[in-house]
């Protein structure tokens, strides 16, 4: 069975940027901040491309999809440059970022339209840290799920996934179709080369609106406020291991 892979990718504040809370404590400052493709989404995309490159005829197509503001097309272009064949932008305009439940419902519609049989997505977005979308999507589709994947093997219509779990790893196996979420150690994502970036400009990018897909993206969780966590009080630098032991004994840590 050939694979029609769907890779959802999210535009997030770059992992190296320390986010700042806005003045009204309603969200995080996004003006003038560097955005990138979510690192876990890059890993998912890399895995799709590796499946295609490593198995002749196994992968029929790789479709990248992003749900976000119009600017999210930038990360779709990166996805296309890295090896996706086609792409969809679900343009939410200036709407508040949809929650995983709404994202999963939108993705479900794209899955139906693209007739995908394997969905590779990151285990979590590094902005909301939810770790939910893949699981909800699998639930909506009633497909098996393999989360936190550290290894993916496809043989015929059988998919074997080694998952990172508390205390080690476990291996599970399912039949296609399946939803897989990727952990950090699944692979090492490639960089997009300049020629591929140029070629990606000619690859298909279809823009749709959530309403076109018939999905209500109203959030179920209202953000009451957004704050910094309490700061720790300044520590002291000790001169020797003896002094360190003394201090730890004095404050009851030992």
């Amino acid at each position: 069975m050939s694979l029609r892979i769907l890779v959802p990718v999210k535009r997030v504040i770059d992992a190296a940027v320390k986010p700042r809370v806005n003045k009204t404590n309603t969200g995080v400052e996004t003006q003038g901040v560097k955005f990138s493709i979510n690192p876990f989404c890059e890993i998912a995309l890399e895995e799709a491309v590796k499946l295609k490159e490593g198995n002749k005829g196994l992968v029929e197509s790789i479709h990248a999809v992003s749900i976000g503001p119009t600017k999210a097309q930038d990360i779709l272009r990166i996805a296309l440059a890295k090896g996706a064949d086609t792409s969809t932008l679900v343009d939410i305009g200036k709407a508040e970022a949809p929650e995983p439940l709404a994202v999963a419902k939108l993705l479900q519609k794209v899955v139906e339209k693209e007739n995908s049989n394997i969905i590779l997505l990151g285990k979590q977005a590094i902005d909301n840290d939810s770790n939910q979308t893949g699981q909800i999507l699998a639930g909506l589709l009633k497909w098996p799920q393999a989360t936190n994947a550290a290894k993916v093997v496809v043989e015929g219509d059988k998919v074997t996934v080694t998952r990172e779990v508390d205390g080690g790893e476990e291996t599970i196996s399912s039949k296609l179709p399946i939803v897989i979420t990727t952990d950090l150690r699944l692979n090492e994502p490639r960089y997009a080369s300049l020629p591929n970036i140029m070629k990606a400009k000619k690859k298909p990018l279809t823009a749709v609106k959530p309403a076109d897909l018939g999905v209500d993206i109203t959030n179920r969780l209202q953000t009451v406020s957004v704050n910094y966590p309490p700061t720790r009080k300044a520590g002291v630098v000790v001169g020797s291991t003896e002094e360190l032991v003394e201090k730890l004994k004095a404050n009851g840590s030992l």
Partner: protein, 335 residues
């Protein structure tokens, strides 16, 4: 008087309504009949909500586990699904079981530990019930308002759920350990939909260790890139941990370089710990690592780079070559 009653009446009405409606289901996590320590943190979160608490136990060892859970302080009822299909916690049929029992029991809140198991199963339940789950909460403000860290713990979001059912995973390290031994809950059979599993469990490869569990240890010693190789990690970090009975953790750099097992990774995408004492050895302190340990009571950093960001969160910092300092410290801890 008119003023007083108009203020009081809605308040009273509200509390009565809450008492009638609020009821919590906690999903018990166990491996082959051995309870995960995090169940007790989840339980104390459930107690904060205030309504009656029901615990759900599933698997071939469910009856044995249920008799232990029945003693948990605060649990009124234990639902048991004695079915080996739930032994491996596979999300597909486990989420069907959870959804069925939520619907049957009319629970308003469902709590599970934000472990690999909880994060795998609970969001799938939300697809059936059409609610937006709330992940990794660190504080309960009220029955519908919760605090959860976002952006690798750099920001705390207070969110109010408008869904009729709150599906919640708990950050264990943010809630105290509940007590065992006082309770005498009723044990009943759970509704078991007996869904056929859509995936098959093949094997597992778990790291065996005599050391305390990383997630619940009161002391943690973590090593990073500064250890240079696995040999040094084993030679320096393990004896230091053992000298104070600590669990061992690692930074992503150490795990990626093969110094330590994946399951030891502390950080945004690994384990989040909050022990009494956290000793970071040869760890620079990237945002993603701090996300997993900055709520520790006392933080010690040993690093030769005095500019390393880890020193900004450390209570006690030692700027020194770890290859000199760690063996010395191990000896002094032993005394």
């Amino acid at each position: 008087m008119i003023f007083t009653s108009s203020v009081l009446r809605p308040t009273l009405a509200r509390s009565v309504r809450l008492n009638r409606l609020l009821s919590t289901l906690t999903i018990i996590e166990h491996t082959g009949g051995v309870l995960a320590p995090s169940n007790l943190n989840t339980l104390s979160a459930a107690k904060q909500l205030g309504g009656p608490i029901t615990a759900l136990v599933a698997g071939s060892q469910a009856s044995k586990v249920a008799s232990e859970v029945a003693k948990f302080d605060g649990v009124e009822k234990v639902l048991v699904a004695n079915n080996e299909a739930y032994d491996r916690g596979l999300a597909e049929n486990f989420s069907d079981l959870v959804a069925e029992n939520i619907t049957k029991g009319g629970f308003s809140h469902v709590l599970v530990s934000g472990s690999a198991f909880g994060k795998n199963v609970l969001p799938r339940v939300s697809a059936t019930l059409d609610v937006q789950p709330i992940n990794d909460i660190t504080k309960i403000e009220s029955e519908d308002t919760f605090v959860r860290p976002i952006y690798a713990g750099n920001v705390l979001a207070t969110v109010k759920s408008t869904d009729p059912i709150k599906l919640i995973t708990i950050r264990s390290s943010a809630f105290e350990v509940g007590s065992t031994g006082a309770g005498a809950a009723a044990i009943e059979d759970a509704a078991d939909p007996k869904s056929a599993p859509t995936s098959e469990w093949i094997s597992e490869n778990l790291t065996k260790s005599e050391r305390p569990d990383l997630g619940s240890a009161t002391k943690v010693v973590s090593g990073g890139r500064g250890l240079k190789d696995k040999e040094n990690f084993d030679k320096l970090i393990f004896p230091l941990a053992d000298s104070i009975g600590a669990a061992v953790g690692a930074s992503r750099a150490a795990v990626d370089s093969g110094f330590a097992d994946n399951s030891l990774q502390v950080g945004q995408t690994g384990k989040v710990v909050a022990p009494d004492l956290y000793i970071a050895v040869g760890i620079s302190g990237a945002i993603q690592h701090l996300a997993g340990m900055k709520d520790s009571k006392t933080i010690v950093a040993i690093n030769k780079d005095s500019e390393a960001p880890i020193f900004q969160v450390a209570d006690f910092g030692l700027v020194d070559d770890l290859f000199d300092a760690v063996p010395k410290l191990t000896e002094q801890f032993k005394k």
